[in-house]
Symmetry: C2
Amino acid sequence: MSNFIRRRELDFLLYEFAEIQTLFEHDRYAHMDRENVDAILTTAVRIAEDKFLSHAEKLDNNEPTWDGETVHIIPEVKEALDAFCEAGLMMGPIDFDHGGMQLPHTLSQAYMGVFHGTNASTAAYPLLTIAASNLIIAHGSDAQKSTWVEPMLDGRFLGTMCLSEPQAGSSLADITTKAEPDGDVYRLSGSKMWISGGEHELSDNIVHLVLAKLPDAPAGVKGISLFIVPRYLQDDDGRFTKPNDVTLAGLNHKMGYRGTVNCVLNFGDVDGAVGYLVGEPHQGLKYMFHMMNEARIGVGLCAAALGHAGFLYSLNYATERKQGRAATNRDPASEPVAIIEHTDVKRMLLAQKAYTEGALSLALYAARILDEIEVTDDEQVKKDKLNFLDFLTPIVKAWSSEYCVTANRHAIQILGGYGYTREYPVERLYRTNRLNPIHEGTNGIQSLDLLGRKVVMNDGQAVRTLMGEIQATCDAAPEDLKAFAEQLASTSQAWAATTMTVCGAAMQGKIDVFLANSWEYLEATGHLVIAWLWLKQAMACDGKHSAYYEGKRAACRYFFKHELPKVGPKLELLSSMDDTCLTVEPTQF
Amino acid sequence: MSNFIRRRELDFLLYEFAEIQTLFEHDRYAHMDRENVDAILTTAVRIAEDKFLSHAEKLDNNEPTWDGETVHIIPEVKEALDAFCEAGLMMGPIDFDHGGMQLPHTLSQAYMGVFHGTNASTAAYPLLTIAASNLIIAHGSDAQKSTWVEPMLDGRFLGTMCLSEPQAGSSLADITTKAEPDGDVYRLSGSKMWISGGEHELSDNIVHLVLAKLPDAPAGVKGISLFIVPRYLQDDDGRFTKPNDVTLAGLNHKMGYRGTVNCVLNFGDVDGAVGYLVGEPHQGLKYMFHMMNEARIGVGLCAAALGHAGFLYSLNYATERKQGRAATNRDPASEPVAIIEHTDVKRMLLAQKAYTEGALSLALYAARILDEIEVTDDEQVKKDKLNFLDFLTPIVKAWSSEYCVTANRHAIQILGGYGYTREYPVERLYRTNRLNPIHEGTNGIQSLDLLGRKVVMNDGQAVRTLMGEIQATCDAAPEDLKAFAEQLASTSQAWAATTMTVCGAAMQGKIDVFLANSWEYLEATGHLVIAWLWLKQAMACDGKHSAYYEGKRAACRYFFKHELPKVGPKLELLSSMDDTCLTVEPTQF
């Protein structure tokens, strides 16, 4: 196996942490057993190494180009996507009813992580396509489903999401792309920015999901509608060969993530691009959130996987590279030791392990909630779990991308000068991962979403759920983990109290004061959640003994000793309603 | 002026913070006045913008190449270096006695920062050459000085430092490059790695300062000698045209900092490269530390300058880019505001300002200590100040590079998707700055140097100096800064107590326990020092009122509210003598 993937970790997270096997008892997943889970993982790892990792460096060195007519991408990308689709992985998380394999989301997220970690650029195409399919399945008409979903699931068509415009990135309220009714269809015109997978020859067609405004649309986000706008329309024979009025205006040249073509698209430069309305008019943003939420969890997972790949790579390097001697050894004639023997290198490895395996566990925990929603018939349970998932989503996205970029920073540091060169992959992982705090809603936006929306929705239900879950975990902690359980319980109580204090400003209508330190709030909440999941990971190791389990315990200890205490000052800052950032004037910088 | 430089900031740091004018009272700097300081800064800014910034992007896109015979670098680099030398800037910090301009180090560091921030890759050539000149001036023979220093100061020769080898990076004890006596000279053979400026056609000659071992050398760092090894030797006419036996083995291809050619050099593949011993045999590392210490402060300054350039660029962007509305404005039909109006953007600007102007102030404070050493005749004062400078050096290098990379991360985030593209400079600044935590001794090595050497040397004299300086600053704080002064005093006392606790392990001979959390110690100490300097900056604004001064106060407040409290948990971790990182076994990761 390569230095980018550790199968043992997948097995631990799936079976021992997320306990995927307990899902098989339900009708929905009765077709699953450990044997086919293992077979799917084996296939995924094989394809990821043979077809994705194998061209990751080449793709980074040869980003997509446009000659004015055609976008050129190295052929290995298409070969990788073909292998991915042939193995049925595109349809893994899709229900039987829609032609899929109806795998548990916990499993499909686990294998998607393998692809992200080995080659996030190429994995972005299926990530987007699966999410686009899910959106159409959830909100499209029967005709739309039958036209678009099947070719997407077998990879003949790939999907995109077209939200941003040059003047409207974080502020979707300000999009200006128009959709004029034209018989049964609509004619779209406008520019869309940052479109990943927006133009290429990797598939027979590209299914753009586009936000636009109808002529009678109210201002702001309440006037946004959603359209399917294919690159090619059906000709008289029903084949998708007729160009729609969607043109490439230019490619963006990114610091990393280079293999995912990213572009500006012009819709309707000639006579309006044909679009098909999804669902009701003016409800488009709500539908798009279906895709965005899935993509946000995908981004968090991708960040975790890129971080973990850097961890594994730097771990292997640290084991092989000899340099220096123990701090207690004064004999320069003695043999140098592997750098993994040095405490400060171990620190950077433990930090990477704690961040990235914490983030992976969070992504799989979120996936497991989705599965639990699928298998229950109890509407209240469904609602509560969805509520909790909504709460966790900005944390999955923003905490993971923030800390797993830091993990990649440590990986470079362990390799030293070598890590800074393009001959080693860790700088590529770092450059690539740096996109994750930006796209699918910047991390700042995520923090506003968490505090301004998710915390307060349903009268703070999600806060109570998290507190209850933490308490249940702490109560169940075995003797040797009681000290951590107490630390976690006490931090969670301080967090809940701070949440109350901060929300007090919202109740007084001081929205700007309420949100003034939203990023600190997200960081504190993220650390709390990850500490809780690390305690769960440590509990999953209870009674088990091997170097692997000791490592899990050490990483848990690292998180509780080195990371969780960072929450205290953040909560104090929040509780003090510090207004430093709010009150500084733009002219004062 | 470009978006990379703010002259007002230079003026503040030099005159109001470092009070450079008080140096002019001393004989050594009696030739200086405000007028010539201003003229030098004006010249530096002009050359930095016209000749350095102007090719920074092009250089990043066109890194040096080697065709097997010659290293090719875009011609703008040579033009920039010529302009730099013609303005006399290479000889700025050199004494009159050695043909220099004898400028205060405070001033020369200030203008070097301008060049680092606009184009660190090109600025690296003079940085290395000035440091190499200083080493030869300090430790070379008269003949060596007269041969090498003059052509280096006028830019005809450029300098390098050759320490690392493929098998010996952080561990110089293990270098294997040999030097055999051959009459008056030595013949060197061995490979040197990561040599910045190691091969190029930018100068008539390259003066390599090379660490190597004599045949009778003791093992380890006590057996290292230092040699001047030029690329070209003198021919019979005294001209440097005769190739020495130094050959380029290959170029390294870096993530950033691309314009500084970096290579593997082979010494003595044919008949031994001619080298001239500097000073006494086996004392080479001590001499080299002269250059390394200067380079470490240079690295910290460079990190600060790159961070500050990103701050200024993202500030300008945030002022111009319109997006979204105030949290309190629910009207989607209202005009969008500049993103600098958003609190979370202000947070990222304040963080950048606090980190980078804090780091700049630290670099200039260190430079001012050097000046104070130069102008005093009191040997005890000299010794104490040098001791304090030695203590601060790893902080200048490591804290600045750590936090100013984070500053660049914020700059990208403010620009969002645009910041992630190569069309905007912030990603280049980020990639370039990422080298600074690695070279000239990794940040981990700096933390071992700080705690294992600098804290304990001279019975903890530096700790007492810092405590005394902080106390003096706190005592002098005006009423409106008393709360920060108290917070600083109390943190410094906790820091001193923790230092005592941690050093207790050293006194018991438990060196590994003593050093187990050295990185946390460096971070805590760095935050304490930067908070102290921020208080000094705020005190320099006392009684002054304008948007600029209010901004300084806001950044100080940010540091005290958002950053200094992070020290508490680190000190608790250190005081607890946590051994998580020490005890985890290599097999457990």
